[in-house]
């Protein structure tokens, strides 16, 4: 636990200093042409809520910047893809055609990323995705690709380690939702754990009933069950497992780190372990406060903070006087600053440096951090 503490306090310092720097710059008068950054992801449709959370994070960063820099007003343009890869190319094209856009916060999902990034790459328009964690997004030789969080290839092994070492599980059950994210993560866990996995299955996330999977788990009686998927299904699944009398410890990936999980699972959520490559350090509280101030009655949700970090990187480029896409892209290559979630610095494949994965635990309806996974 102590390690993470020192980490986040360090992060806090840097953020604080960066903010003051910004303010200082304004005083000196950061001026710029009318430029904008864009949000690319689902704002409507079935995945709209996730996108709205992300957009809110970026929005907060932009409005903070604009208040601080009256002479450099940065716009935030929305590209609502509904998370649908079929719509992504046309939207990407429009973003590319809008010369004032210097960077993209998004795309939000892996599918639409694969459909849209080739266009951004051809146009040299930098993107920072705050949420697409698919492991093989980075091996497409895309120059413009960056992400503000670790890929699943970092989280998966950490989860396996946690299950093996900390939970000391002898029998593990692994379930996934057959989506790119969920299955990708679960497969890494399966591969890493090998023989300790005694039961393994997939669910259809759109279904309401998971009884076949539940029966299987009940029968195999694992002492830990990992589920790769998003929070809503995780909630349903947790509930149905508990109803059937399964008492195994439940472990989830970062897609479950959302209050929606607690709501959906109710008391069944208690005792669950959730992992995330994100750490809510001390600076996070500050961010959360600002967030609630801007969006009354709301707290930052999944990937909101990552989006804030992503937008901040672009804003830093603008503040540094970059006026074209090539400049912004170059700037990101050298960017190294503390974000709300972590130290943001990209390697040549566009992955953030450092791969700290944190474990959280649900207790009495609250998700709280229990520490870094070694």
């Amino acid at each position: 636990g102590s390690d993470s503490d020192s980490d986040s306090s360090a992060a806090e310092d840097t953020v604080a200093s960066e903010v003051t720097e910004d303010t200082a710059a304004t005083a000196a008068g950061v001026t710029c042409e009318p430029v904008s950054i864009a949000f690319f992801g689902a704002l409507s449709g079935d995945n709209g809520n996730l996108g709205k959370n992300i957009r809110a994070g970026a929005d907060l960063a932009v409005s903070e910047f604009n208040t601080a820099n009256p002479d450099c007003q940065v716009g935030l343009v929305d590209f609502d893809s509904q998370g649908d890869p079929a719509q992504a190319p046309a939207l990407a094209q429009e973003a590319i055609d809008d010369a004032s856009i210097l960077g993209i916060v998004g795309p939000a999902f892996s599918g639409e990323s694969k459909a849209a990034i080739p266009l951004f790459d051809a146009a040299g328009l930098a993107i920072i995705t705050p949420s697409a964690t698919n492991a093989d997004l980075n091996d497409n030789n895309w120059k413009v690709f960056h992400r503000a969080l670790a890929g699943d290839d970092k989280q998966g092994p950490a989860i396996a380690t946690y299950i093996q070492n900390t939970l000391a599980a002898a029998k593990v059950g692994v379930i996934d939702d057959a989506t790119e994210y969920g299955k990708g993560l679960a497969d890494i866990v399966r591969d890493t754990l090998g023989d300790t996995v005694v039961a393994s299955d997939s669910i259809d996330p759109n279904a309401a009933d998971f009884s076949a999977v539940v029966s299987k788990m009940k029968d195999a009686a694992p002492d830990t069950i990992f589920y790769g998927g998003y929070y809503a299904e995780a909630g349903k699944l947790a509930k149905q497992l508990r109803d059937a009398g399964v008492t195994a410890t439940l472990v989830f990936g970062d897609g479950v780190k959302d209050n929606g999980f607690i709501e959906a699972a109710g008391p069944a959520a208690d005792g669950s372990i959730i992992t995330c490559t994100c750490a809510d350090g001390a600076s996070f509280a500050e961010f959360a406060a600002a967030y609630t101030a801007k969006f009354p009655g709301e707290t930052p949700q999944t990937y909101g903070a990552e989006a804030y970090d992503a937008a901040s990187a672009f804003l830093a480029a603008i503040a540094a006087g970059e006026t074209d896409r090539a400049g912004v892209l170059e700037f990101l290559g050298t960017y190294d600053a503390a974000g709300v979630t972590k130290q943001i610095k990209w390697d040549e494949t566009g992955e953030v440096a450092g791969n700290a994965v944190y474990a959280y635990k649900v207790e009495a309806g609250v998700i709280s951090v229990i520490g870094l996974i070694e």
């Binding site: 079935d46 259809d204 009884s211 539940v214 109803d243 109710g266």
Partner: protein, 374 residues
């Protein structure tokens, strides 16, 4: 290893499969009834079901004031209070679903039969005005007001355009059904308090094990669902086969014009059919919330597709077939997912359907209406 799993979990899977199948059957009854009378795949039936789940939710929380959690635990009730709450929810679901079905019939189908009336005109007019209002207004409230103001003149206009006595082709009904289904789902998603997120319904019934059968726990909620399905099917069968109105339903199903000249009030009979289908869906919805305590704007879609499959499997238009089809489908899905993995659940369902239809082209029990000869 998988065979071994099947063996040990067989009874578990059977019980949950029958429970799931009973839910399918209940929803399938509505499809089959409407199909039997109008030869229409009532795509919006799944939305009638969805409305039922929300009715249950509203009755429990808003009307009866049951909290979601009490001191972090489910708000279990017992004895008389429990029965009362359950009955109230059942009533609420049935009434609202029934009413929804009526509105649907009058607005989206009846005008297509060439006998559109004021009620349908008013509903359509309101919706039209409301949609037009979307262009000008941003808030739901002003939109609503605009919609209400616009209703009068538009309804008058619609009444004038309704084609008297002209029957639309069957495809038109299907598309109207799809449109209505889309509009209802989206309306809940857009204007519901939680948008597209999942809703939880309070869990008042503790899922106690009543007894054990072949080493499997038989839970009370499953028992209620199974008994409910049997009761409702029986009641419906009695109604259709024993009552005068039931005879009217069958007559309309076979030959509308002849039914008319023998004194059957065709519009009324169709309305009754929808009411019955709606009430069944309402019952199913309440039981659904009992087992899964959740709802969502699109909760009906997949369940609807499955239930319609069940209806076809049993022989569409055949009430006993709906029950049988539901049970067979529920079991097949459970056994199948245990054998091949949960991700193949739907494939199993559809392959089963294909195989059954190959050998019995009109379903397990056959259509209740036979075709006229050449």
């Amino acid at each position: 290893m998988r065979d071994w799993l099947i063996y040990k979990t067989f009874w578990d899977l059977t019980v949950t499969g029958v429970a799931l199948g009973s839910l399918y059957a209940l929803v399938a009854l509505g499809y089959t009834l409407v199909y039997g009378v109008l030869r229409l795949i009532n795509f919006a039936h799944s939305e009638i079901f969805m409305i039922g789940t929300f009715a249950s939710l509203i009755t429990a929380t808003n009307v009866l004031g049951v909290p979601m959690l009490e001191a972090g635990q489910y708000p279990y009730r017992t004895g008389f209070q429990l029965v009362l709450i359950l009955l109230a929810c059942l009533l609420g679901s049935m009434v609202l679903s029934g009413a929804g079905a009526v509105a649907l019939e009058r607005a989206a189908y009846r005008p297509l039969r060439g006998s559109g009336d004021q009620f349908g005109a008013v509903v359509l007019a309101f919706v039209t005005a409301f949609v037009v209002g979307l262009v000008f207004f941003d808030t739901p409230k002003s939109n609503l007001i605009f919609g209400i103001i616009g209703t009068g003149p538009i309804a008058w206009m619609y009444l004038n355009i309704f084609r008297r006595g002209r029957q639309a082709p069957r495809l038109a009904f299907l598309i109207s059904a799809i449109g209505a289904s889309t509009a209802i789902t989206e309306a809940v998603a857009i204007w519901g308090p939680r948008d597209r997120e999942q809703y939880q319904t309070p869990r008042v019934l503790e899922k106690k094990t009543l007894f054990q059968l072949f080493g499997t726990d038989i839970r009370i909620d499953y028992v209620i669902v199974i008994i409910g399905a049997l009761l409702m099917t029986t009641a419906l069968l009695l109604f259709v086969n024993r009552t005068r109105l039931g005879r009217g339903v069958r007559a309309v199903a076979q030959d509308v014009e002849t039914a008319k000249i023998l004194g059957v009030n065709v519009d009324f009979v169709i309305l009754i059919t929808f009411v019955l289908g709606g009430v069944m869906a309402g019952g199913a919805a309440m039981m659904f919330t009992l087992v899964y305590d959740q709802s969502k704007f699109n909760i009906g879609f997949l369940l609807g597709v499955k239930s319609f499959t069940a209806a076809v499997l049993g022989g569409i238009g055949n009430l006993k077939g709906a029950l049988l089809g539901g049970l067979v489908l529920g079991l097949a899905e459970n056994y199948g997912s245990a054998l091949f993995g949960g991700e193949w659940k739907d494939v199993i369902a559809f392959v089963l359907l294909l195989v059954v239809l190959m050998f019995r082209p009109t379903g397990l029990l056959g259509e209740s209406l036979s075709k006229a000869r050449v």
